[in-house]
């Protein structure tokens, strides 16, 4: 998985039928140092993430392995909302401190 920040929601009324009913989020990848990277994806949300949340996302056909996305054309999925992460024992991000709200 990769770390990311939800920077928007994607609304689409005209889309392929087999992705109807799925909530779409615009996610920007962030580095393990919590720096925003130039990589964005439209990912299906299965954990009720919202704009500003720091999340984990998966890519590829693994993303079809949830009840909501099974057998659907989905290759990006937000599968967790991150509370904290640390690198070498040093806390880099903590949602409770409201870090990371700005993309």
């Amino acid at each position: 998985m990769q770390l990311g920040r939800v920077v928007g929601t994607v609304v689409s009324t005209r889309k392929s039928d087999n992705i109807r009913g799925l909530k779409l989020l615009l996610v920007r990848q962030v580095s393990s140092a919590n720096a925003p990277l130039d990589n964005y994806l439209v990912a299906v949300d299965v954990v009720q993430a919202g704009v500003g949340d720091t999340v984990l996302y998966a890519e590829g056909s693994s993303c079809r392995q949830t009840a909501a996305t099974d057998k659907r054309p989905v290759d990006g999925i937000v599968l967790a909302v991150v509370d904290t992460w640390e690198v070498d024992g040093r806390e880099i991000f903590n949602a409770a401190r409201g870090e990371g709200a700005a993309a």
């Binding site: 998985m1 990769q2 770390l3 580095s31 393990s32 990277l37 299965v46 954990v47 009720q48 984990l56 998966a58 890519e59 590829g60 056909s61 693994s62 993303c63 079809r64 392995q65 949830t66 996305t69 999925i77 599968l79 967790a80 909302v81 991150v82 509370d83 904290t84 992460w85 640390e86 690198v87 070498d88 024992g89 880099i92």
Partner: protein, 90 residues
């Protein structure tokens, strides 16, 4: 699979149910000399890997298979801890 070193941990209390109880670790991919090579990834752990340990992790859909509930969306899972790498150059 890819070689990597465990450099950190990620805590996510709200996550997809199929990954309940699965530990999430930050893994730095490595080159043949054990130096960092590329952006770290977050991988599910199946080997109680500890910080600093050299491991290898599997990507793609196969990453779901080693986990308790194999129907999960993981795209990176640690499948082994490396004891040694020998490089016998002929």
């Amino acid at each position: 699979m890819k070689p990597g070193r465990v450099i950190g941990t990620v805590v996510a209390s709200r996550k997809v149910e199929s990954l309940t109880g699965v530990k999430l670790l930050l893994v730095q991919p490595l080159d043949e000399d054990g130096r960092p090579a590329g952006e770290p990834v977050v991988a599910c752990d199946t080997q109680q890997s500890g910080p600093g340990q050299t491991v290898f992790f599997i990507g793609g859909r196969e990453a779901s298979l080693p986990l308790p509930d194999p129907f999960n969306p993981s795209d990176a899972t640690i499948t082994g801890i490396v004891d040694a790498v020998t490089r016998d150059v002929p």
